[in-house]
């Protein structure tokens, strides 16, 4: 079966922490930016309403802070990406430069959307995310390497184990995260499945 995406095994770089549980996708990308019919400009919008007040004056936020400039790993707390299913949220983070997200937990649709664009979301327990955030806040130049094969993060402070569902790990490391081609390759089985479902024929016996 064809793998249609690149193989994603390791992500190395600096990190940016965004603290707080239940950060919803309305906060990641406010709805007004969803009126654009392409994702092209999404990289300009992450956390817009937290980075600027209603008058457009900058507010302190890690995504605006020069010391985190160029970070490729995002560190978050629990239930990140809850709420709206807008893929604009992971698209915005990806286009901003984020290549992996490490957190305590992720909302289901957000994790699925991220996987579909090749953006890994991996989990670590609360103590370890605190440790990572503290490390990065103390020294934003710290280099982390997220290793999906070995299921760990290598940091100057030691090796931290990560959790990632086997299916997502396989999809990323083997290049199957963009599923369209894989799904399409099974066309005859799809037709067989459809033929078994009575509602597709309107229950005409």
């Amino acid at each position: 079966m064809p793998a249609s995406g690149s193989q994603i095994g390791q992500i190395a770089g600096t990190a940016v922490p965004v603290r707080g549980d239940d950060i919803d996708t309305d906060r990641i990308v406010p709805a007004r930016y969803l009126k654009e019919v392409t994702f092209d400009h999404m990289g300009e919008y992450p956390f817009m309403d937290e980075r600027f007040d209603p008058q457009g004056n900058p507010r302190p936020h890690p995504f605006s802070d020069p010391k985190y400039h160029g970070a490729s790993i995002l560190l978050v707390n629990a239930n990140f990406g809850c709420g709206s299913s807008r893929e604009h949220a992971p698209q915005a983070l990806y286009r901003f430069g984020i290549r992996a997200i490490v957190g305590e937990s992720f909302a289901a649709i957000f994790a699925g959307n991220s996987l579909a664009i090749g953006l890994p979301t991996v989990t670590v327990p609360h103590e370890n995310i605190e440790k990572l955030m503290a490390m990065v806040e103390a020294d934003p130049t710290v280099q982390l390497t997220l290793d999906l094969e070995e299921q760990c993060i290598n940091s100057p402070g030691g090796v931290i184990p990560i959790q990632v569902p086997d299916t997502a790990r396989n999809a990323l490391t083997q290049g199957y995260w963009d599923s369209a081609a894989t799904l399409a390759a099974n066309e005859s089985k799809v037709r067989q499945t459809a033929a078994r479902l009575p509602y597709l024929k309107g229950f005409k016996s």
Binding site: N79, S85, E87, S179
Partner: protein, 465 residues
């Protein structure tokens, strides 16, 4: 692992294959699309030269960006106009039925699917919208998906998915007067948490759910996602079948009888095994409102605002108080409101409008409140007008609008201004959700919104019954 639940049965009948990653390739029986999350998917289709796999299984409408008071084209907002043109062109190019402006079937995607009889038990359904869970009310496995997955469904009629666990939530009845489906689901989310459903599908049952109409079951399933569950469902029963009988896309004549047999067979068996079971005493639920910035920040109308330390996430609660400007320990009853919104896929069906109208009838909206009613679909609108509900609302000082999402997410001109507080029958009280980054939202049932509109403050609807 769960066994013999509706989820297990429908998952199995729709399984195409196991993918090399270990994910399941799941066939999607019905695909619904709308203007906001589809244009990028069609762009990918064109770019990658993909064809529509099952053209007869996708249906489209426009809801999110519709200006509900001014439907003339071109729309005043050029971005909304561009979005509308994109879905018109895409559905035309790909031969997808489109219920746009001017169609009697236009409306919020989760209101029109059931209303047309497209949504049926034992089916898998996907839509690029998180509230797709709504369709679970019919015993449908309904998944909210992102745009890349919308492309996958267009191109292959399939999704790559991981199987979830099933949590059965039993709600015993009867509900107390003044408490509605909305109060039940707000109360469930309050107790299980906004992340509590992670990894689960919710199956709702018990005497309170059994007694509910389809409209009410849709309200419950709709907010499954607010509880962190990807989908929620109710097993199909006589109420489900009665609702579907005679609908435009429901099987007709003898086929309907065969359909009922099939639908029944998809329901969870008596000896089904669940991964978790939760019992909720429905009769103890009082009218419930939110006080904070996520749908888990719920509270009974007669309670006092909680201390952050009493809650699972004190930091989040403090942030909520900071945004809302409320004080722990004070009553929630009596908080002044500026805007009243009856609408959204949670609560914009005919029974919701009836409930709100019965409170409003013969009364008047407080002069400092802006109040609007936005029916979930044109069909709901026409039905309401037939029953004279529009007149009741207009006489009371509500604006009567056309169908759309409106102030649920404020992608159209209906928005909060500044720090306004809205009493809203929608599903999300996230910061900025109703259009103003400083705006504040208090979620409640439509009847409670009506009571708040009249009093100009958070009120107890039981005083009006």
């Amino acid at each position: 692992m769960s066994q013999k639940t509706l989820y297990d049965k429908v998952w199995e009948s729709h399984t195409v294959d196991t993918l090399p990653t270990g994910q399941t390739q799941l066939f999607i029986g019905l695909h619904l699309i709308h203007e906001v999350t589809s244009p990028q998917a069609f762009a990918m289709m064109r770019e990658q030269g993909l064809k529509l796999a099952f053209p007869e299984r996708t249906f489209a409408t426009a809801d999110h960006i519709i200006p509900t008071d001014m439907l003339e084209r071109p729309f005043q907002d050029p971005q909304a106009e561009e979005m509308m043109r994109a879905i018109e062109k895409n559905t035309k190019d790909y031969g997808i039925p489109f219920y746009g402006i001017g169609s009697d079937h236009q409306g919020i995607v989760h209101v029109i699917g059931p209303q047309l009889g497209l949504t049926q038990p034992g089916m898998t359904l996907a839509c690029g919208d998180s509230h797709t869970a709504t369709h679970g009310a019919f015993g449908t496995l309904a998944f909210g998906i992102g745009t890349t997955q919308v492309r996958d469904v267009l191109a292959t009629q399939c999704l790559a998915m991981d199987k979830l666990k099933v949590r059965r939530i039993n709600v015993s009845g009867p509900l107390s007067p003044g408490s509605y489906a909305k109060d039940v689901i707000l109360s469930i989310i309050r107790h299980l948490g906004v992340g509590g459903g992670k990894g689960y599908v919710y199956e709702y049952g018990g005497s309170a759910i059994d007694a509910m109409t389809m409209d009410e079951r849709m309200t419950i399933c709709n907010m499954s996602i607010e509880g962190g569950a990807l989908c929620g469902y109710v097993n199909p029963d006589g109420t489900t079948f009665d609702y579907l009988r005679g609908r435009a896309f429901a099987p007709q004549g003898e086929a309907f009888g065969r359909a009922i047999q099939y639908w029944r067979s998809t329901a969870s068996s008596n000896d089904a095994v669940y991964d978790d079971v939760v019992e909720i005493d429905g009769s103890a639920i009082e009218p419930t409102v939110t006080w904070g910035i996520n749908p888990g920040h719920g509270i009974g109308i007669s309670e006092k605002l909680p201390q952050p330390e009493e809650l699972a996430d004190p930091a989040g609660a403090r942030r909520a108080y900071e945004h809302m400007g409320f004080e722990p320990g004070k009553p929630v009853l009596g908080i002044p409101i500026d805007v009243a919104f009856v609408g959204s896929c949670t609560n914009s069906r005919i029974s919701d409008l009836r409930a709100a109208a019965s409170v409003v009838k013969g009364r008047h909206v407080n002069p400092r409140v802006r109040a609007i009613v936005v029916p979930g679909s044109q069909e709901v609108k026409l039905q309401a007008e037939k029953e004279g509900l529009d007149q009741i609302f207009s006489d009371a000082g509500f604006e009567w609008r056309s169908a759309g999402c409106s102030m649920c997410l404020a992608m159209n001109p209906d928005q909060l201004r500044g720090r306004e507080i809205s009493a809203s029958s929608s599903n999300r009280n996230f910061i900025g959700r109703q259009g103003s980054p400083e705006g504040r939202t208090i979620l409640m049932s439509p009847a409670m919104v009506a009571a708040a509109a009249i009093n100009g403050k958070v009120s107890d609807v039981r005083e009006y019954l």
